[in-house]
Every structure is written in structure tokens, then in C-alpha cells.
Point group: C2
Chain length 160, copies 2
């Protein structure tokens, strides 16, 4: 039996476990440096910077989705952006990932968002096919650019 619910502050250790498990899966465990205090400050105080939902299978935490809002200048409304989706290996094959995606689509519509968006690794064709079966399209032409760390510091120092 599956239930999906909004995360609360008491779920922070669980959320960190999911974040770290996903970083392990992506083979960058050392990159997940977020702390409980980071998540408390940014997600469970006033003006939260993200939202999180927990999936439970027969009362046991099985997966999570971590999201926030972007904004479409064309539509003049926010969109829902899914940053992380993870289901523990022992709970896979039960439709929990799909249920989380549908839950977020419903949330997006209920909140007046014009779009629901996320990113996927381009070699993960089985995931891409699955997302397409749910109605998603790939934005093939758009390439993401990122500046971080020392490069960001250097760029900031160049500003007048």
C-alpha cells in the first residue's frame, strides 16, 4: 500500500539519506555535502526554497521527490521543477516513481503551474522512454551552462 505525503521537519534525516543514496547511485557520494541545518533553514523555515514529498510503502519510507518552482516569462506563471526523484532499490518495481511523478503533475496543476520539468541523463534511454509515455517531451536543443566554485568567484570579481 502506497501513500505520498508532504515532508515535515522531522523527515530531514530521511531526506538526507535519500539525497546521499542518489549521489551514491550517480557515483559522486562526496559531492553531497548538504547538512540537516541547511535543509532546515532552506526548506522548513519561512519562505521555503524547496518542497519535498515522501513515498511510503506499507508505512516504510520508500522514496522521495524534491522540487521547487521556476518561472516562465512566456506563460507569466511559475512551473514546477523536479530536482531529485529516488526510490530505494528494495522498493522498485512497485510503480512508486510513477506515482511520485503523477502526484507532482497533480500538484503543478492544482497550484496553477504551466509546466512540469526535470532533467535526465541522456544515456538513460529507458527512463526517457518512460517519461515520454507519461506525456513529457525532450528539449533537445537546449544545453545547460553552469558556473560554480572558483570559476564563479572569479566571474563575480570581474563585475564592476
Amino acid at each position: 500500500m502506497l501513500t505520498i505525503r508532504a515532508a515535515t521537519e522531522s523527515d530531514i534525516p530521511l531526506i538526507l539519506d535519500f539525497i546521499r543514496a542518489l549521489a551514491e547511485y550517480e557515483r559522486e557520494p562526496q559531492a553531497a555535502v548538504a547538512t540537516a541545518e541547511d535543509l532546515r533553514r532552506d526548506g522548513f523555515a519561512s519562505n521555503p526554497k524547496f518542497r519535498c514529498v515522501i513515498a511510503e510503502w506499507e508505512g516504510r519510507p520508500a522514496g522521495f521527490a524534491f522540487y521547487f518552482y521556476n518561472y516562465s516569462t512566456w506563460q507569466g506563471r511559475p512551473g514546477l521543477y523536479l530536482e531529485d526523484l529516488f526510490v530505494k532499490p528494495e522498493f522498485r518495481g512497485k510503480g512508486i516513481g510513477k506515482a511520485l511523478l503523477l502526484y507532482l503533475a497533480k500538484t503543478a496543476v492544482a497550484e496553477g503551474c504551466g509546466r512540469f520539468q526535470w532533467q535526465v541523463l541522456d544515456w538513460n534511454t529507458s527512463a526517457i522512454d518512460f517519461y515520454k509515455s507519461l506525456g513529457a517531451k525532450t528539449l533537445n536543443e537546449w544545453l545547460t551552462m553552469r558556473v560554480e566554485g572558483e570559476a564563479l568567484e572569479r566571474m563575480a570579481a570581474m563585475a564592476k
Copy 2:
């Protein structure tokens, strides 16, 4: 002489002009349906969903940058996400686009953001080379997925 300043509510007509000019440039003018009321409600009331800065050349509006915040579950902090950057054709070649990017990099660092990110069309190699010269990297493996319109309604209706 170039100045960059935060947009205020009285800039809404100007921001709409920039948004529509960018949509024209991308050959989708009909897609930019955002209204002044949309931008007022979402950007200039409490808890703004986006930020906007205006570049002025000798006191005349020359360009803009439109951004909001995403969130890194690995870093445990927000990032600055640039949605739109536009310089009017008659003001190009003066370094205004670069000045806007540097201004946002400085803003990102000042606000404790761990990353500064945006997207570019993959065939726009001159823009990509320029961004790389500023320290940006391309996230080549990441593909963006999107659900919107009727597909989003259908997906939402499938949720339990």
C-alpha cells in the same frame, strides 16, 4: 555609460517589451502571453517568484536579465538561475550582455548561491564559446524533459 539596477514595478511595461522582443528573436512571438498583471502578482508583491535587472545605456533602457533561484540538494544551498537575457539590437557590441552576466555572478556570490546556471540553444556556438570564456561549463549529458498544456492535465488526472 552603462548602469545596471534592480527592476521595480514601474518597469513592468519595459520588461514585457524585452520578453516579447526575445520571443520574436526566437521566432515564437505568439508564445509570449504573459501580462502586466502576471508580472506584478508574481514579481512585485510579497514573496516574489522571480527577480529582474535592467541595463541602461546613457539613461536609456538597453537590456534586461530575468532570474530566479533553484536549489542544489548536494550543496544544500540555492543557485541563481538565469531565465532570460536580452540586449536590444541597437545597443549590442557595447559589452552589456557580459556586464549583466557578471552582475548576476556577483549577485549569486553575495547571496550565498553555490551555482549560476542558464540554458543556451546548442547551435549557438558563438554564445557557448563566450560563456565558456567567462568560466561556464556545459552539462552535456543532461537532457531537459517537459510536460505542459493538455499533456500536463492528462498526467495530473492519472494521479490517485
